[in-house]
Amino acid sequence: MSSLTVKNERQEGLRFLFCGIMILLAFWQAAAKRLWAQSGTAVILLAVLAPLVCLYLPVALYPVFNAKKQKYFPRLAAVYGVNKTEGKSVLLAVCIGVFGWIAAVYLYEGIICLYQYFSNSLILSVGATTEKWWLTALMGLCYGALPAAATELFYRGNACFKGQSTAELLLAFIMPITLCFELNAIGINVIVGVLSVAALIKTRSVIPSVVIASSFRLLNIFPGSMLIPPFSFRLATSIETSLVFGLRALAIGAAAIGATVICFMLMKKGEAEGAGNKERSDFFWHAVLIAFYLVLWAVLTAL
């Protein structure tokens, strides 16, 4: 493959990538707005699963369609500006970011829903999150620091990220979007996104982005801020449903943590193993990962 071809493929891939990101942004925004108006499960599925499908499936299906990998994978790798092995690591890191985000959000929701149940008060039904500083601080921690820490861990732990601007941009895009998802104002999303990307490129570290995005999240401490109660709170309209949705939210969180761990395993295996039975092993763990993914899907559908 000539350098010119690779360059063209990278440009084409980048266009495809950014189109995809814009579509995901649209999904997210639509979901946020619909959730604000008490939407149904379908929108939640779109909001959470569409990004997972777009980001995860190329990697998950790669070993399954092994015969065609020579045709498609170089193009996919070119999209992210890395070679085959590095490309898998990048995508797995992205998966970790997304799964980490889901885990953090739903663990937070589960804790608060169960708190509602055991305290016998619908503390979130009247927008009380803005009046309870500890709730907002917990939300800031779960929504901001935990997913970002997961991303940072893999950013630092994988050599493939070093000097890969496309991968950085990808990470930089994913993280602020997930962090700012609940802020129902695209203006703030853009501001935080731009600031986070700028900080990431300038410092070559995720930490400043984490600080920026988490700071915006913690601004919700002040009354009148644009806080949208997340998924389970919208559904937990009574004490009785708080218990049901609290447990389900914790289940989603646990499944997402499991998926994160499997992503971590896949990444480690990719780095450590050479040839031999690697692809068979990959296939097994990808199947396990898909199983986790299906559990998430089932729980979200049940919600």
Binding site: L235, A236, T237, S238, E240, T241, L243, V244, F245, G246, L247, R248, L250, A251, A254, A255, I257, G258, V261, I262, F264, M265, K268, K269, V288, F292, V295, V299
Partner: protein, 285 residues
């Protein structure tokens, strides 16, 4: 790597356990409710319409118990009120609003607009049944207690009385206040028309100085205002009442009637435990 595998397995087990616990909690709460489906609350209500230009709007309280895949209110295609003579009055329009909803039940207010021309002047029509028709045309009747719609002809007296304010709602059916102003010549108040099955009432007039008079025979001068107070007694334990009373008066030897512009609701059932108990009572009927 083994440690990671163990961790993944632990979280898979935790996921399954939490899911099992959530479904068990859901099943326990769902078992507290009676059979799934639509439950209409029984009301003792009265609506008067003295104007031919207004169509009657009837409010019903409905509970949707979400259990066993039963049909919900929204699965039905048509709704009609059936009077005691067996005549079905189809709705001209329907609006449904949620008062409360969770995954176990919903409480709804169904407002049904009927056709005023279906009601003859100076007659009262009684309804005890609401009829729902599903997508296959199958009809199902539900008891709604007793609703009286009284149509009155007051065409000769336009804008004679104005109502400055009235009780819009309360938890307990103890009293009803109405402020009345006479816009034209002197008139003599006669009575309040309010046909409720188990409720009696005493009507008093409070003038601007706070003096109390009996309603019947009170002379209301031109341009003057009074407050009419109804004190209720009797079976006020029915938790759902909607009333839209009518003031009957005499002027120049003729009897006229003027309906209050809006309906008042007396709803005392709010608590979840009370609602579950009420639904079981309705299910046992």
């Amino acid at each position: 790597m083994k440690r990671l595998t163990k961790t993944a397995i632990i979280f898979a087990v935790v996921t399954v356990l939490l899911l099992g616990a959530s479904f068990a909690a859901e099943a326990v709460e769902r078992s507290r409710f009676p059979e799934g489906g639509v439950y209409f609350a029984r009301t003792d209500s009265y609506y008067s319409y003295s104007s031919r230009s207004l169509n009657p709007v009837i409010s019903l309280i409905c509970f949707d118990v979400k259990k066993g895949g039963a049909l919900s209110l929204f699965d039905y295609h048509e709704i009609a009120l059936v009077d005691t003579a067996g005549v079905s009055h189809k709705s001209k329009d329907v609006s449904i609003s949620h008062v409360f909803t969770d995954i176990f039940f919903s409480r709804l207010v169904v407002r049904i607009v009927l056709d005023r021309t279906d009601f003859e002047d100076n007659t009262a029509t009684y309804f005890q049944t609401v009829r729902l028709t599903d997508a296959h045309g199958k009809e199902r009747d539900f008891s709604i207690g007793r609703i009286c719609i009284e149509a009155l002809n007051a065409e000769e007296e336009v804008a004679s009385l104005s109502f400055g304010g009235y009780t819009t709602g309360a938890n307990e059916m103890k009293s009803y206040n109405l402020r009345v102003t006479n816009q034209k010549e002197d008139l003599r108040l006669s009575r309040i028309s309010l046909d409720l099955k188990g409720i009696t009432y005493q009507a008093s007039v409070y003038d601007e100085e706070g003096n109390v008079f009996p309603l019947d025979g009170y002379l209301l001068g031109k341009g003057t205002s009074v407050n009419i107070v109804l004190s209720f007694a009797g079976n006020t334990e029915v938790p759902f009442h909607f009333i839209k009373p009518c003031l009957v008066y005499e002027r120049g030897g003729k009897v006229y009637a003027a309906s209050v512009t809006g309906a008042s609701d007396y709803i005392s059932l709010f608590d979840r435990e009370e609602t579950v108990k009420y639904l079981w009572e309705r299910a046992d009927v």
